[in-house]
């Protein structure tokens, strides 16, 4: 016990001493679920942000000043997200590339707006984020009303004659996405056979699987994250239920395959076209590979968000959030995501969604 305590003290001391070293003049941040069950996404954001700041500083920083990056942890919890947002305001952060979960981004955006901090979320897809008319809110990812339409049309085209169940995890992201998909599917003339809510964080979905088996469900659309998706397909396989699960962009993490195991084969999800395949991104992707990291999922969306901010700040001639926001609206920016611009609401002009398929522990574009 004594050695443990000493070790703890030593660690604490090291952390405190380490903090004073950087001499940055512009402080930016990325905030996401660095801990908790969605920590894989937090890691993607942190890696993307660290690389972006490193690359920008190597070229002399922004507006002639070096950047310092802070990494905040909201654990995907709306209450903690607000606390972290306030912390960022106290620390003098001018720009936040975050958060990840829509349920966190939306309440945090109120704080950023009030404190004059620019926010570009690389991952929060709930339409509400940019619909509330906040002038300092942007995103580099798509919206669930686009994503849901793609998913709904896809389900109708491929599985229109099958029995479809729509599930969601009651979160802002999951419920929003499930509702959009349901609306698109119903508008296309297909009625779902089941609409249910699950509780995220639980491990037992056997009762749900049995229920779907009893109803003869063949296709499941889930508005939710990869842990629950993995558990559901795994338990469906255990019970001998042959279903195809489709979900949204929260399945774009290889952790899904390690949870679901062989049952992950055939699972579908929607996500923006893979930026790793973008020629503009090839150098950055190689740099990540050299670090032993695969720039999957939202890594490059975070990198691109910081690039867009940096270029807008240069154009605005100031890191002031309102001026950078005006520049972001006015112009196009060369990023790893390609040439992107932002509309009046702050949504990215970029490419929308495509369908991916899991196979053998990896995902790629869906092909018939």
């Amino acid at each position: 016990m004594r050695t443990f305590k000493t070790g703890l003290l030593a660690t604490a001391a090291a952390v405190v001493l380490g903090a004073g070293v950087a001499q940055a003049e512009i402080i930016i941040a990325t905030v996401g679920p660095m801990t908790g069950q969605y920590a894989s996404f937090g890691e993607q954001m942190a890696k993307g942000a660290q690389m972006a700041v490193k690359d920008l500083n190597a070229k002399g920083g922004v507006l002639g000043q070096m950047l310092e990056l802070k990494v905040g942890d909201d654990a995907c919890d709306p209450k903690q997200a607000v606390a972290v947002a306030n912390q960022m305001a106290n620390d003098g952060v001018v720009f936040v590339a975050g958060h990840f979960c829509s349920g966190s981004s939306i309440p945090a955006s109120a704080v950023y707006q009030e404190e004059g901090i620019l926010q570009i979320s690389p991952a929060s897809t709930n339409p509400k984020l940019t619909e509330e008319g906040k002038s300092l809110v942007f995103r580099t990812c798509g919206r669930d009303d686009q994503q849901g339409v793609i998913a709904g049309d896809f389900l109708k085209d491929k599985f229109g004659d099958k029995k479809v169940a729509i599930l969601h995890d009651k979160s802002a992201y999951g419920k929003g996405l499930a509702d959009e998909t349901k609306a698109a599917l119903n508008a296309a003339g297909v009625q779902e056979a089941m609409f249910e809510a699950i509780t995220a964080g639980e491990k037992d979905y056997s009762a749900l699987v049995t229920k779907m088996k009893n109803e003869g469900i063949q296709i499941v659309y889930l508005g939710g994250y990869y842990t629950e998706a993995g558990l559901i397909v795994r338990q469906a396989k255990d019970q001998g239920l042959d279903i195809t699960l489709m979900s949204g962009d929260a399945l774009v993490a290889t952790e899904f395959a390690s949870i679901a195991g062989p049952a992950s084969d055939g699972t579908l999800f929607t996500f923006s076209p893979d930026p790793r395949k973008n020629p503009d991104a090839s150098q950055v992707v190689k740099a990540f590979q050299a670090d032993g990291y695969n720039a999957e999922g939202y890594t490059l969306y975070t990198y691109g968000a910081i690039q867009a901010w940096a270029q807008a700040a240069e154009k605005a001639g100031s890191p002031d959030a309102a001026k950078v926001a005006t520049a972001l609206h006015a112009d196009q920016f060369d990023t790893v995501l390609g040439k992107i611009g932002f509309d009046a609401k702050g949504d990215v002009s970029a490419p929308g969604y495509v369908v991916y398929k899991w196979k053998g522990g990896n995902y790629d574009y869906y092909a018939d």
Partner: protein, 304 residues
């Protein structure tokens, strides 16, 4: 009928896990009249130890599956028991004889400390393993709906029943059981007639932790996915199970666990899953209104 049967199997398996955890709550309450809020975390640690042993043994390439499972069970039980003992020694014994709420708050603190400890040392990511025991058979089929019973579910039931028999014997017919019951009735008097109260209480924590370790192992095998937060939700449900069955009563805890498992499964089966937890806790409220001591609880309790 087939559908009902399958949901019964689902509910009983889930209930067995809740029941095993609930026994830890109920035993500690019975003997020192305190809710050990860190018990859910003890269960989580049991699950982590099982997965760690599995990986140390070589993961999917382990030489012999039955031996590997025995090793997982033993290692997980022994080390989790050590955690249970340590928690009691560090957080509760120094506060014994202090005012009533002190150990309760200390328990909540311990729960948070253990959760963060595992989060920091093991990382926040979900840990998963691939199924070790696969397969099962179809016991009944009706209109194309086959009722699946997996080997693992049978193992879980046998393990639970076996442990219940062993524990009932331990409490009713051994010297340790007599000492425990003596402490439960009157700690001061038990001490006067020569029962080592501190040791008995320590052993109670060890026993509860052992059962939680088994539940943790089962979770690891059955669901294959755990994280540092898994103890919170399961602990809540198990605590509810202990209250429902009558806190302080060993068979009550098992009964409560099974009931909660069954309520969850059948509510999900015939009503909307969204209100599953509302239903579970609603029933708890109803039971407590009409039978405040739970199903098998004794009515005398004066402690918190």
């Amino acid at each position: 009928m087939a559908y009902f049967l399958q949901q019964l199997i689902n509910g009983l398996t889930l209930g067995a896990i809740y029941g095993l955890i609930a026994i830890g709550y109920t035993m500690v309450y019975g003997i020192i009249g305190m809710i050990n809020f860190a018990h859910g975390e003890i269960y989580m640690i049991g699950a982590f130890l099982a997965i760690t042993t599995y990986l140390v043994l070589g993961g999917a390439e382990m030489a012999s599956v039955p031996l590997g499972l025995m090793a997982m069970l033993v290692v997980s039980m022994v080390f989790t028991a050590a955690y249970g003992w340590t928690v009691e020694r560090l957080a509760y014994r120094p506060l014994r004889g202090s005012f009533r709420l002190a150990p309760l708050i200390s328990a909540i603190g311990m729960s948070i400390a253990l959760q963060n400890y595992v989060q920091i040392t093991q990382g926040a990511r979900v840990k998963s393993i691939q199924p070790i025991i696969q397969g099962g058979f179809e016991i009944y089929s009706q209109d194309g709906f086959g009722v699946q019973l997996s080997y693992l579910q049978i193992i879980i039931w046998l393990l639970t029943v076996g442990l219940m028999i062993a524990f009932t014997y331990l409490i009713t017919s051994t010297s340790l059981g007599r000492q425990q019951r003596a402490c439960e009735q009157d700690r001061k008097m038990a001490a006067l007639v020569g029962v080592n109260v501190d040791r008995t209480i320590s052993l109670t924590f060890v026993l509860g932790a052992t059962l939680a370790a088994v539940a943790g192992l089962i979770t690891t095998l059955y669901y294959g996915v755990i994280d540092f937060y898994v103890g919170f939700l399961a602990g809540m449900k198990a605590f509810t199970a202990a209250v429902l069955g009558g806190i302080g009563s060993l068979p009550g805890a098992m009964l409560g666990g099974l009931m909660i498992g069954l309520i969850e499964a059948f509510w999900s089966a015939y009503f909307t899953i969204e209100y599953k937890d509302v239903a579970t806790f609603g029933i708890l409220v109803l039971v407590l209104i009409f039978k405040p001591t739970g199903f098998l609880g004794k009515p005398e309790v004066e402690k918190v």
